[in-house]
């Protein structure tokens, strides 16, 4: 197909590289350097999609991020991406683009009926209509509305691309590479500052690439080329194009995304698709320019109607005519440049100007060129369904609230200009309270709250000379505060067209007795009538009007609609604009893919994975792993086709009968040293540690200051002033921080140091009646008898070339030892245990078997120490010393902690001795009670007791100890079961604790 709207030459595209693409099933051609938008326009395609609410045909209205309509579904290879903006995606091979929000097609969309029913869809329509009956919202209304109003379709496949995050520090971050941005970057970089300059478009230069200006003796774009070359040659400069700074956070932290890959035809495989930059800048120069403001008139949303500056950009950058019979509709002088550019292409534009006249140089130039200008005129209406085909133009009356006469003019496009809106989003995000400038009718940055400086047209400096001056001066001043080099750059002289005052008039009156829609916000389909209605219904605050009408919401964030909306509200409320105020600008400034935000932290990379030194052995021996915090721990070792239940039962039973070995490396280990260590532990633990003998371990419980149990574990006195503390896997990091808090903040006078040694020691628990025999084989020269190494004893022994620590402690309730050895020797020790253990039928056991063993012993773990229970609830009240103070003790005297019927730990056995009780089940007295059923307590942990071969659970129930022997019910509404159970002691196996001492 011919690109009928492409001019013969000119533009920055590579005409020798032709690229084909498919839009809605039809093949088109464009060039390398095109965006989808410019390539479509080159082919005369304006109709891109359907509007959000009324499903009206919509086209491209701009050439950059401010375009509100051009959202499409993009397909490349077998990847799809929704809500992509056609003005931002560069043309590459293999693109397929589909319109969204239309069905069955963009040309014939059944939902367009909404447009004809539009008087039934005013602002607040959904709030008012879909209220009753209440239950209908989720089931009926919402799904239908979603289907009708939805944007694109998200891919259901995992994102095949990769995304990266990068942190960067710089002296000066320059956002935007227009005239002021480039000059400030040059000035700062030459003065020795570390500069990052970011440009969201694929080319540096901003308006200099489009406007007909000279700087020094060069054209605008030549000057850009030289300046960029110079910046590139400096080692202290990072230049980033295709990079959007979209958020300005506190402490001068800015976030930027860089499009690294999508524009490349043959990207390298390892390249990330997009990169998220966290930039901490000492100073931020915001040179984000300004966005042209549309005019509001009847049916101003037809495809073919776009911003005048965008029409010029398509011509100058892409060599594309946005129309061959354009009407240029303006209230100011800047649109005349578009008219002149089009005139120079042999096209005869007609200018409709709302002003009486203008004596600006550029207007005179247009007059001289013979361009037809209709002053004091406005557009009263437009026609053309899928593309504008004519406008109705009228001479405005003196009050500008009606027309003297109307005439219809045929056209194929309308280029609109309502003057310029400075892009102040980033300054506002930084905390800059904006001020209203009545002269330009815009909000401009006021006092900086952080280290941000706004320059150029973003700062309301609308002439090139002013922008350059601000750029060079601020670039030098800000950099000099940092570098103090004093190297200033001369400000070049520039030449540009002269512009006069704009007309303070944006919203055209409707022709007599007509009720056409005049759109303010294209993306959200907000028309003048909606804003009128909102104000009429009593919404006064601009934030409320925004939410009621959806003006300025979604990805658009009011880039083109904000000021027109404010103007209308102020007129309706008979206030001035600054009294109405403005809505909050929130990050992100433009849409950012979720992938970019998440970066590499997907799947297993979401968090670090910690593995014990013996991990590989576990893998080779059928281990099925479970996440325990960051750790991967063997849950069970699968033999043949065993289930979890079968394997864990076998492993647990083998511990009870023979001997098992469990990798307990993940348990937290903290080394405590210093002459006040015993005193410190005595304050941290609820039980006494002051007189713990050297070579002895003690079980300890620690509380939070609010009296709730924090953690438990054993602590061993290695020598007079050295202790080895163990914590649970889950709380290891918190316990260390807790200890550091008391040592550094509360009792700095104590001479104690703490350090985590979790990773320094590999640990194995060897448990079972045959464990002592096994240990005697491993350490044949050591006396490990019950007398030499009794329960809670500790011994240091030789192993190979190192020493191992043996703690006689037990979680399983059996005779057991925990061996710690330097991590590097972990595998060697593990192999030795397994090798020598064969004689005693040793089997490794995982966390599931460990659970069974501790549950039937009645030992508490994380499911009981859950941050809600006190020592009494866990039957640990014997651990509370009466003779000393400790962390959290004072809280225990509070009334609620001394209620006699507090929930306490007990054992639960099903009466049929067969039915397993789901964890989390409620315990109730009578299964036939009326609702709400009074709750006695809950099941905290369940297992299949290997000792008795029936189910056994731990529960925390009201007045627990006095309920032993009672028959109650365990109910799980989730699993739909009700199980008759009996309350028993929590110590189901070996209640006297003889085995551990044997």
């Amino acid at each position: 197909m011919m690109q009928k709207y492409r001019i013969k030459d000119g533009g920055k595209i590579q005409r020798n590289k032709k690229i084909s693409f498919i839009f809605n099933g039809k093949t088109y051609f464009g060039y390398k350097g095109d965006t989808i938008a410019s390539a479509l326009l080159a082919n005369g395609v304006h109709l891109i999609g359907r509007s959000f609410k009324y499903h009206r045909p919509r086209g491209i209205i701009a050439a950059g991020v401010e375009d509100a309509n051009g959202k499409v579904q993009l397909y490349k290879n077998d990847i799809t991406e929704p809500n992509v903006n056609v003005t931002e995606v560069e043309l590459v091979k293999g693109l397929r683009i589909e319109s969204q929000n239309c069905w069955p097609s963009v040309s014939f969309d059944v939902w367009a009926i909404n447009n004809f029913l539009n008087r039934f869809f005013p602002a607040g329509f959904y709030y008012k209509t879909f209220m009753w009956p209440k239950s209908f919202w989720y089931k009926v209304y919402e799904p239908i509305i979603r289907k009708a109003a939805g944007m694109g379709t998200a891919s259901l496949k995992p994102d095949p691309d990769r995304y990266e995050h990068q942190y960067e520090h710089c002296d000066i971050l320059v956002v935007g590479s227009g005239p002021s941005g480039i000059s400030s970057a040059l000035a700062a970089a030459k003065n020795g500052a570390r500069v990052i300059m970011a440009e969201d478009k694929p080319r540096f230069g901003g308006s200099l690439l489009i406007d007909n200006v000279t700087i020094g003796n060069k054209n605008g774009d030549e000057w850009v080329e030289e300046a960029i070359a110079e910046l590139k040659s400096l080692p202290n400069v990072i230049l980033k194009k295709r990079s959007q700074v979209f958020g300005y956070y506190d402490h001068n932290m800015l976030v930027m995304f860089e499009r690294c890959k999508d524009h490349l035809d043959n990207p390298v495989a390892f390249s990330p698709r997009q990169r998220l930059w966290y930039i901490r800048a000492k100073q931020v120069i915001i040179s984000t320019g300004s966005i042209e403001r549309p005019l509001v008139f009847a049916n101003n949303d037809r495809p073919g109607i776009m911003l005048a500056s965008s029409a010029k950009e398509y011509l100058k950058i892409y060599g594309v005519l946005a129309g061959k019979k354009p009407i240029i509709f303006t209230n100011n002088d800047t649109a005349y440049e578009t008219a002149i550019e089009y005139k120079n292409q042999g096209i005869a534009p007609i200018i409709i100007d709302t002003r009486n006249d203008s004596d600006a140089g550029i207007v005179n130039e247009a007059k001289k060129l013979g361009i037809q200008i209709k002053f004091s005129h406005g557009i009263a209406n437009t026609s053309g369904y899928k593309k504008v085909k004519s406008v109705t133009v009228g001479e405005l009356n003196n009050n500008k609230d009606g027309y003297k006469n109307l005439e219809e003019i045929a056209c194929d496009s309308v280029f609109v200009s309502g003057n310029w809106t400075p892009t102040v989003h980033l300054a506002s995000q930084s905390g800059n309270k904006l001020k209203y400038d009545a002269n330009s009718d815009t909000f401009l940055p006021d006092k900086s709250r952080q280290k941000e400086t706004v320059i150029g047209s973003a700062n309301g400096s609308m002439t090139l000379q002013k922008s350059l001056k601000e750029g060079f001066e601020k670039g030098f001043n800000l950099s000099n505060e940092i570098t103090k080099n004093g190297i200033a750059t001369l400000i070049p002289i520039s030449d540009e067209k002269q512009y006069g005052q704009h007309d303070k008039f944006w919203c055209m009156p409707l022709p007599n007795k007509k009720h056409y829609k005049r759109f303010v916000d294209f993306q959200n389909d907000v028309a003048v009538s909606d804003i009128q209605l909102a104000v009429q219904e009593g919404f006064r605050s601009i934030e409320h009007v925004k939410r009621y009408t959806t003006l300025g919401m979604a990805t658009d964030q009011g880039k083109t609609s904000n000021l027109n909306g404010l103007q209308l509200v102020s007129e309706l409320e008979k206030k001035i604009v600054p009294e109405v105020g403005h809505t909050t600008f929130r990050p992100p400034y433009t849409s950012v893919t979720i992938g970019t935000i998440i970066g590499r932290e997907v799947g297993k990379n979401y968090k670090a994975t910690r593995k014990s030194p013996m991990h590989q052995w576990h893998e080779q021996h059928g281990a099925v792993f479970v996440d325990a915090g960051l750790w991967l721990r063997p849950r069970y070792y699968k033999e043949n086709k065993e289930t979890l239940h079968q394997a864990s039962k076998r492993e647990a039973l083998n511990v009870r009968k023979n001997v098992g070995v469990c990798d307990v490396t993940s348990l937290g280990k903290i080394d405590i040293k210093g002459k006040d260590s015993a005193e410190f532990l005595n304050r941290i633990y609820t039980n006494a540690f002051l007189k713990l003998p050297i070579g002895k371990a003690r079980y300890g419980v620690m509380l939070r200051e609010d009296g709730v149990v924090f953690d438990d574990g054993t602590t061993t006195r290695i020598s007079e002033n050295n202790f080895h503390m163990t914590t649970t896997t889950a709380q290891a990091a918190n316990v260390l921080m807790h200890l550091e808090y008391y040592l550094q903040v509360v009792w700095p006078e104590l001479d104690v140091s703490v350090v985590s040694t979790t990773e320094q020691w590999a640990s194995a628990a060897v448990a079972g009646p045959k464990s002592r025999m096994l240990l005697s084989r491993i350490f044949p020269s050591e006396d490990l008898s019950n007398e030499a190494l009794p329960f809670m004893g500790y011994k240091e022994v030789k192993f190979k070339d190192t020493t191992a620590r043996i703690f006689r402690i037990s979680f399983s309730g059996e005779l057991a030892y925990e061996i710690n050895i330097m991590s590097d020797f972990g595998n060697l020790m593990w192999d030795e245990i397994i090798d020598l253990g064969k004689e005693f039928n040793i089997q490794p056991y995982g966390t599931e078997a460990l659970s069974i063993l501790r549950i039937e012993m009645g030992h508490v773990a994380g499911s009981e120490i859950d941050g809600r229970t006190i020592a009494y609830d866990l039957s640990l009240e014997n651990m509370l010393s009466q003779k000393k103070d400790f962390v959290g003790k004072r809280s225990l005297s509070r009334k609620a902690f001394n209620e006699p019927d507090r929930e306490r730990i007990v054992g639960i056995v099903p009466i049929d001795k067969k039915t397993s009780i789901p964890e989390g089940s409620y315990l109730i007295k009578n299964e036939n009670s009326l609702l709400p059923v009074p709750k006695l307590g809950y099941i905290s942990a369940s297992c299949w007791s290997v000792e008795f071969d029936n189910p056994f659970s731990l529960a925390i129930i009201k007045d627990g100890k006095n309920k032993i022997g009672e028959k109650i019910f365990a109910v799980s509404p989730l699993k739909n079961v009700s199980i008759p159970v009996e309350v028993v002691s929590q110590h189901y196996v070996d209640p006297e604790g003889q085995r551990v001492r044997s």
Binding site: I597, Q744, P748
Partner: protein, 103 residues
């Protein structure tokens, strides 16, 4: 998901905190530790429920300057004080734990 986005967008990690021992570091290396003006009652002291509760539970929630504890968790592992404006996030000063604030 929202929490993740908030974190990832730097909303949660935007502060730059000057650790008295390590210098300026990003917030993601630190943990917040609450009001630094709260003093733990002496051990073994006879105190009323109200005094104890004031230590455990009751906290001011000032809009403006706040002296707070921070822990350099992924760094030197030291607790220190940060004098911060809760409304603007401005960090006025950071102090070693024994230092007193004179303002």
């Amino acid at each position: 998901m929202k929490r993740v986005l908030v974190q990832k967008l730097g909303l949660a990690d935007m502060l730059e905190i000057k650790c008295p021992y390590c210098g300026e570091r990003s917030q993601n290396e630190f943990s917040y530790g609450g009001d630094a003006t709260i003093k733990r009652p002496e051990l073994n002291s006879e105190i009323s429920d109200l005094e104890w509760d004031s230590f455990v539970y009751y906290r001011n929630n000032p809009r403006g300057k706040h002296l707070e504890l921070w822990h350099h968790t992924s760094g030197c592992r030291r607790w220190f004080k940060v004098h911060r404006n809760t409304a603007t996030h401005e960090i006025i000063k950071t102090l070693e734990i024994q230092e007193e604030l004179h303002d």
